[in-house]
């Protein structure tokens, strides 16, 4: 039992903290969010140079072979900075799928480019009717000899506009919500038959709606075996996003605490009011609980026992949802009117935490999933 960071992890943390300090002042982020791509290609190149894009990828394909805890360290600091580069889409999810199921040829071709920052990926899974069920898939893929042709709609695909390739879940057999018969495909972003509608999201990211009409796709992993693969990789994504949320919550907790100590009303700092002291303590406890579950899930995300693993993932997502909600809402409340302004960073963290609850299934979804496991 040891929850301390290794020397390498501490160095990584310091290095990401420095990056966030230098590149992610609120004003700088505001500019990135408003830019054409919604993030900075220079930052992306820097992340490649610093080895962050390679961190979780295997050594034989140009990676560093890091653990989920390494990714957690990185994601927590990204959360503290509200970093908008497509790390989750490209590396955690895209890289995760390639590592888990890519053919030798796919790995050889794509992973080194991913690690070098020369390839970006996105993951298209949600559909209008699917809500949070990854296996509720109506997009169809028809086999034409060795190749496949994809048709259907995918919604809210994060960072699709700037991805080179999009990983798409589609049905090769079975009915709408069957677990069997889902296959993942690699689709070129400029493939014919693919149209995209790009838009910003409420928390400063970018996403797209995809319309596919006979789009060529190459299977990624076993045909019909997409469900288990998605469980595995989305599980890793949940573990990573829990860390991002913990970073967001800590910033809010620290900022709000500082604000209460400096804001004077009725002749004393707000921090002298017991009702606010207790509220602050509750926020602090939520942060500590969220961090504990974040460590737990990142240590269990590759656990062999499927039920044990999936319970850990859903439990962590529920706790992150609860804690993120409380810390986000109370940070705004305790900042009063100032917390409502776009000018202050508090609201931006609150919005990100709100949307993190939605990502990969909200609290209600994971409670139900936990109960069903």
């Amino acid at each position: 039992m040891d929850f301390s960071l290794s020397e390498e992890q501490q160095l990584l943390k310091d290095s990401v903290q420095r990056f966030v300090r230098e590149e992610y002042e609120l004003e700088a982020r505001r500019k990135l969010v408003a830019s054409d791509t919604g993030y900075s290609e220079e930052n992306w190149a820097k992340m490649a140079e610093l080895g962050w894009l390679a961190l979780s990828l295997p050594e034989e394909y140009g990676g560093i072979g890091g653990s989920p805890v390494d990714t957690m360290v990185l994601m927590e600091e990204f959360g503290r900075g509200l970093v908008v580069e497509p790390y989750m889409s490209s590396i955690v999810i895209g890289g995760g799928f390639l590592m888990a199921a890519g053919s030798a040829a796919q790995k050889t071709e794509l992973l080194p480019k991913l690690a070098a920052g020369e390839l970006k990926l996105a993951f298209a899974y949600a559909e209008r009717q699917s809500r949070f069920d990854l296996n509720d898939v109506e997009c169809k893929a028809e086999a034409n000899g060795d190749s496949y042709s994809l048709s259907g709609h995918k919604g809210v695909v994060f960072h699709a506009a700037t991805a080179d390739k999009i990983i798409v879940s589609a049905r090769t057999s079975g009915g709408s919500r069957d677990t069997d018969g889902i296959t993942l495909f690699l689709v070129d972003n400029n493939a014919s038959g693919l149209s995209r509608r790009d838009y910003p999201t409420v928390d400063g990211l970018r996403a797209s709606e995809l319309e596919m009409d006979g789009v060529a796709g190459t299977p990624l992993g076993a045909v019909g075996g997409g469900a288990a693969l998605m469980d595995q990789v989305v599980g890793q994504a949940i573990a990573a996003i829990c860390a991002e949320a913990v970073g967001c919550m800590d910033v809010l907790q620290e900022t709000t605490n500082e604000y209460l100590k400096t804001r004077v009303q009725f002749g004393v700092p707000l921090s002298k009011f017991q009702v606010l002291q207790h509220r602050m303590v509750d926020m602090f406890m939520e942060c500590e609980q969220a961090r504990s579950m974040c460590y737990m899930v990142n240590l269990k995300v590759d656990e062999e026992d499927q039920v044990e693993r999936e319970k850990a993932i859903s439990a962590a997502k529920v706790q992150i949802g609860n804690s993120g909600r409380y810390v986000g809402q109370q940070s705004v409340q305790l900042h009063g009117g100032m917390g409502m302004t776009d000018e202050l960073h508090v609201g931006h963290y609150f919005k990100r935490l709100t949307m993190i609850d939605t990502m990969f299934g909200n609290k209600d979804h994971h409670l139900k999933r936990y109960a069903d496991l």
Binding site: R131, D133, Y199, D342
Partner: protein, 393 residues
């Protein structure tokens, strides 16, 4: 004991419904129903319609343009408006400054200001909060110094809702530094066109521009714009805050419930309507029960001659429910809470919607409604008032 509305009340309700059916244009109703942005002209249009019918200022004294309604009629009127998707009435003139003017103002002030409020030709905004004075309102620092027939006003007001549309502002200003902070405050009416007033927008986390900062630099205000007595403004301010907090929220909460149910009935989970999924259905039912409780509580307080402690607990409970409904509605749309398409919040947006057309306002509304527990005296302040005034602690 009796919890039924009488036949006269029900007949009145039908009359209000008929009036709305006859007068509310379809596109305006649609804007309200879909939670889209309303412009000044939308509010103005509806307020003028109400005034033509004599229903714009029902709580005013009859001789000034009010109506002698029973408390149940006021309740029904407000709630029918909301449930019928009418634009809300901008409260700053008719509900806020007007009662102060007709209660504490002189005859000249009543004649000068009230008719323009009644016909919506003059818009008001509220100059209470300051950067250093939020919950602790009495610490306000905006100074008004007497200079002959004028006050010279210097200072900053903030969170001023719709100041960009306002012709006049009612302000709390410091006219004395003596005694307790509450004892040196005056209530001053200021023309927004006066030289020395500057407005800067404050953009809120939902991306909208409702509130502003208003800066006063050597603004000269005629002394006849002082309400009541100098240094007695705190009394008038508290009187006004009770009105600010006493607006019935039941209708709005029911409207939020309708929207939530309608969205949850169209959203799917596991091939069935989200509204039929037991977990979500229980959360909607829980909201509905809390709403019924709120309604019963509000009905019990009807007919109190002036709003008192009830205003504080209705404000806390009502805003909690507004926030809860907006949160459930955001959750109902799942991933489609993410897209942020500002233009989709304006009627006549011609692009096809991203996802279902009801999704676009859900996240902005959830973010925007965080304000409800902060404004008009934060819910923490309301609890202080209740513990002191009701529980004697």
């Amino acid at each position: 004991m009796d919890m039924q509305f009488g036949s006269e009340d029900l007949a009145f309700r039908d009359e209000v419904r008929q009036f709305i059916a006859d007068n509310l244009p379809v596109d305006l109703k649609e804007k309200v129903q879909r939670g889209l942005h309303l412009g000044k002209e939308d509010y103005e249009f509806w307020q003028k319609k109400l005034n033509e019918r004599g229903w714009f200022a029902p709580h005013w004294p009859v001789e000034l343009g009010g109506v002698e309604w029973r408390p149940t009629q006021h309740y029904m009127f407000q709630n029918e408006q909301v449930e019928g998707y009418c634009p809300s009435v901008m409260p700053f003139g008719v509900r806020m400054v007007a009662p102060v003017i007709f209660t504490y103002g002189n005859d000249e002030q009543k004649q000068r200001f009230l008719p323009d409020i009644l016909d919506s030709s003059v818009w008001w905004c509220q100059g209470y909060s300051e950067p250093g004075s939020g919950s602790d309102l009495a610490s306000l620092q905006t100074k008004a110094v007497r200079d002959g027939d004028h006050y010279v006003v210097n200072g900053t007001k903030t969170w001023t809702t719709l100041a960009q549309h306002a012709d006049w502002i009612f302000c709390l200003v410091r006219t004395s530094g003596e005694g307790k902070p509450q004892e040196g405050i005056s209530f001053l009416l200021i023309d927004m066109k006066s030289p020395g007033i500057e407005i800067t927008p404050i953009i809120t986390i939902d991306g909208s521009h409702e509130v502003n900062s208003v800066f006063f630099t050597d603004v000269r205000v005629p002394v006849e714009n002082l309400i009541g007595e100098e240094n007695k403004g705190w009394t008038y301010a508290k009187f006004l805050l009770l009105f600010e907090r006493s607006n019935s929220l039941t209708g709005g909460l029911k409207q939020q419930l309708h929207r939530l149910r309608s969205i949850a009935a169209q959203e799917l989970t596991n091939g069935q309507a989200l509204l039929d999924e037991p977990g979500f259905a229980a959360r909607v039912a829980d909201y509905e029960v809390q709403l019924r409780t709120y309604d019963a509580l509000e009905l019990r307080t009807l007919g109190k001659t002036e709003p008192g402690a009830e205003a504080s607990y209705l404000k806390i409970l009502g805003t909690d429910l507004q926030q809860l409904a907006s949160e459930l509605t955001l959750q109902a749309v799942g991933y489609y809470g993410n897209p942020f398409i500002r233009d989709a919040l304006v009627l006549g947006y011609n692009e096809p919607s991203v996802g279902p057309d009801y999704a676009a306002p859900t996240a902005p509304q959830y973010f925007n409604y965080r304000k409800t527990a902060i404004y008009a005296g934060s819910n923490e302040i309301q609890r202080n008032i209740l513990s002191k005034a009701v529980l004697g602690m």
